[in-house]
Symmetry: C2
Subunit: 588 residues, 2 copies
Amino acid sequence: MFPAVLPERFRSILLKRLPVLSWLPRYNLEYAISDAVAGVTVGLTIIPQAIAYASLAGMPPQYGLYSAISGGFVYIILGTCKDVSIGLTALLALLTSTYTRNTNPDMAVLLCFLSGCIELLCGVLQVGFLVDFISVPVVNGFTSAAAIIIASSQLKGILGIRFQSDGFIDTWRQLGTNIWRARLWDMVLGVCCIVTLLSLRKLKDVKPSSSEDGKPPSGRTKVLEKLAWFMSTARNGMVVVICAAIAVVFHGKDQEPFILTGVIDPGLPPFGPPPFSTSFGNTTYTFVDMCRYMGSGIAVVPIISILGNVAIAKAFSSGMVVDATQEMIALGVCNILGSFLRSMPVNGSFSCSAVNNASGVRTQLGAMYTGIIVILALSLLTPYFYFIPQATLSAVIICAVLFMVDVEILGPIWRYSRLDLVPLLSTFITSLWLGVEVGIVVGVVVDLVFLLYFTARPKVTVEKVTSGSDPEYMLVTPSTGLQFPAVDFIREVVTKASLPEEERARQLPIVVDCRHIHRADYTAAQGLQALIRDFRQSERHVILHNLKPTVFSTLGGVCSSDLTYSNTHEELMDTLRGLHTGAEVSQL
Amino acid sequence: MFPAVLPERFRSILLKRLPVLSWLPRYNLEYAISDAVAGVTVGLTIIPQAIAYASLAGMPPQYGLYSAISGGFVYIILGTCKDVSIGLTALLALLTSTYTRNTNPDMAVLLCFLSGCIELLCGVLQVGFLVDFISVPVVNGFTSAAAIIIASSQLKGILGIRFQSDGFIDTWRQLGTNIWRARLWDMVLGVCCIVTLLSLRKLKDVKPSSSEDGKPPSGRTKVLEKLAWFMSTARNGMVVVICAAIAVVFHGKDQEPFILTGVIDPGLPPFGPPPFSTSFGNTTYTFVDMCRYMGSGIAVVPIISILGNVAIAKAFSSGMVVDATQEMIALGVCNILGSFLRSMPVNGSFSCSAVNNASGVRTQLGAMYTGIIVILALSLLTPYFYFIPQATLSAVIICAVLFMVDVEILGPIWRYSRLDLVPLLSTFITSLWLGVEVGIVVGVVVDLVFLLYFTARPKVTVEKVTSGSDPEYMLVTPSTGLQFPAVDFIREVVTKASLPEEERARQLPIVVDCRHIHRADYTAAQGLQALIRDFRQSERHVILHNLKPTVFSTLGGVCSSDLTYSNTHEELMDTLRGLHTGAEVSQL
């Protein structure tokens, strides 16, 4: 193909950075049909979710749809994983609402642009490894808390109450004081929607009875299965359409029974650079003012986006290595370009990606059909979106996030890795109490403290070795690298352990088995030298056994003449016998 | 002795927390004479240094002496190391001046009280292990930079110029613009003092020629040696007395040739609680205002104090394990009680402790004599302190800190542990550029980044094992613990390595040698499970070899049925043969 004339190195970089080049040349009709089916299915899922998440983020509903356009097209060219579907997610909507509360959409669009820039920068600087420092328990505590916060914030939609709330605790306080203002019909509709959505979700798992015995399923069963699968997958769209129809029927009465979505601006968003200044509440905000308003959001939103995207790509990679750098670049361009189309921050959506995968998508091109469906909806369907009841959208959100709360993880963690409960619970509790953006920072810090603690306090085993006629010695085995925070601890352990009960053992040489030590820094080498000198003062010898070459060069250089070492058991025994004779000679 | 009637456990705690109980019962006349000699010698060293460091901290000179009183008495009861001499140090004086610049002594006294409280708290909470996270290169970069900053700040004293400066760079800028205002006689005196002090310092190392051959030194040589040692040790006091005498001679002339110390308030400081509010510059500061003014100093000063004290105690412990917790408690009480006597923050002084050790101190009681000398000086000598020239004090400080700049460390670090240059130089440069308090934080962060990097990117070796008739396999050996930031990296390395050039090897089972893995967390266990599943998809097996029991329980619990493992070479071979047969059967 076209890159074939290029030098090999440049060609491999091009293939790596433009993944489209690797699959587009092989594209065929079969792929195209599969992609079209999957893309349209995802489109039907993404439209109701986009409107719902826009309201969760406190934005006009059309912004949800704007956010669903550009990401997919960019991901076709730059994305590495065919299943990933880029769009608004509940988590990013929650974060966007946290950082742009009480402002106008301009703020969210600028946040999208800045997040994109930071994601692109992370990709270019290859700092994707930072994502490794967010452990599974922290992610779990964070997403569970976010899901509970989001579900709580939507209860007011189900109840038909309106209020502005400031965090999880405030939401429940206000729900308590405003409960008497709940509207009957909104509640009825909301509860019905939740029940319907949950039932339809279950439908996918129900197998017709005939398939349980060995016989191959009949044609009718196959159709039934297909229908059940489609109803389950398109449940959000179906419920929204039916509820909107009900709302149309009751429309025009004296008192509207449901709170409706209201007017959605029709048509595509204007194409233009993101707003670098804005005004609301009689104040004009410059670019700097806007950045100051969003504060840490400019860092938190891209980190969470990257984390989500890499996690989804890994989940669907089926054993292939995920190129985190390329994912960050793709995500960055998605958001930068998105901000020119007035998008809010977007990343890979787990639910949409799962639908994409289940619908049999073959390449990233499926996203094109999703994008076309969204554009068509914006051009033609907005008058009908007016009638979507808020309670229905709240039900859609609640049913989507409910399964993000993962309680099952607690069992294995409690039984097999209890210490991991500390980062999990501290993330969960701080997220609920002070907000998800604080929660994730607290979780990561707790995790790092543990990591550093285990670096500073390695396991050190000390034993007295006696075997037949061989010389006796004290064997000290540190379990891990000799890094600076550990060296004083090791020195203490060795000093304490070298003073055993029996008087005779106090004269034994110390053998430090360095087989597990793969790295030593200057501080560690100095500490070891101090240890050797300490023992020399009481006329005892320290022998370093099984030194790795790199460690030997550091220790040998820093400790210079003080070092006694051995590489094999025989060498060790010879050295020990030599010490023994030497000691006897000096006693003569 | 008296604690003998107490229960054993309580008695050992009492001995640990009141170290005086362990040595006082054995105290005798010989000890008393040695302690008195050493204590008086230290007193003669500490008085000129105290006055000099007070001026370095921007405080009235008597505050330096106030700071030298209480610490020693407290350390007698609570201190663990006989050689440590508590008092003002150049580093703490520099930090005090940084955090209390342009205020009055009340601020420094409150800083002393708060530092003491934090030190005591650190001792009680046993968080002394935090000191382990400050590596030798960081300490080195920090003290070298501090020494250069201090020496630079004293050049104006030598030149006889007066100005207020704001940091290292500003000092040099102001020296440049004010150099034309230099005063001749101050300069002459300052340079003479520096030359004299450096020569006297060298005197200690000069051995009379007769001692070089084998003969024992004669009586006269011994006396000469003793005299040289005394002149070298008491050099600060001697130079200050001589210069003050010169100043007295020239006093009363029309124009005073030297800038003098001026009036020192005579008598002991008033005993009373530290000031919890103060006023200067027509403003009254409440306790909260004062704390806000000192800001991070409230944390930095105690950390540096603890670091210094523990380091000195370790240097003089001659192989005994230093009880860092007890050192922190002692230091905390020294500062808290000190603040009742209007002391500035104090800690162990390396130079005074070295004098103490060299003078043959036997127990902590030596500090009592030092304290008495300081009290006598405050009561009787203050009228004479008026005449001490500032240039002389600057010379004393410069000669004291000059040897804190350690260039020799650079050689071994460059040759054997080059990576350690990064924390060293970043600490050094940021300390000079932005101040020592920023420098140490930057150094520690750089160090932690390295530590975390090596935790996240362990060495993983991958090799193909072929030996005779035994089944072939790919052997993967991670070098260190399976902690969460490393697991995705290990997964990637294994996945990449498992795709060797030869087609045949692509079917080989993977054996992960876990002998170096002493701990696995939940994230790591999940990652391992994902790895095993990835390979199972391509019908390859992963065998965990040499699992430690604790790691096995975590992995076994989380990965449940997916685990294949072996503990000995025979078990491994049996398992591999089993897989082989299984594969053949399934192919039939």
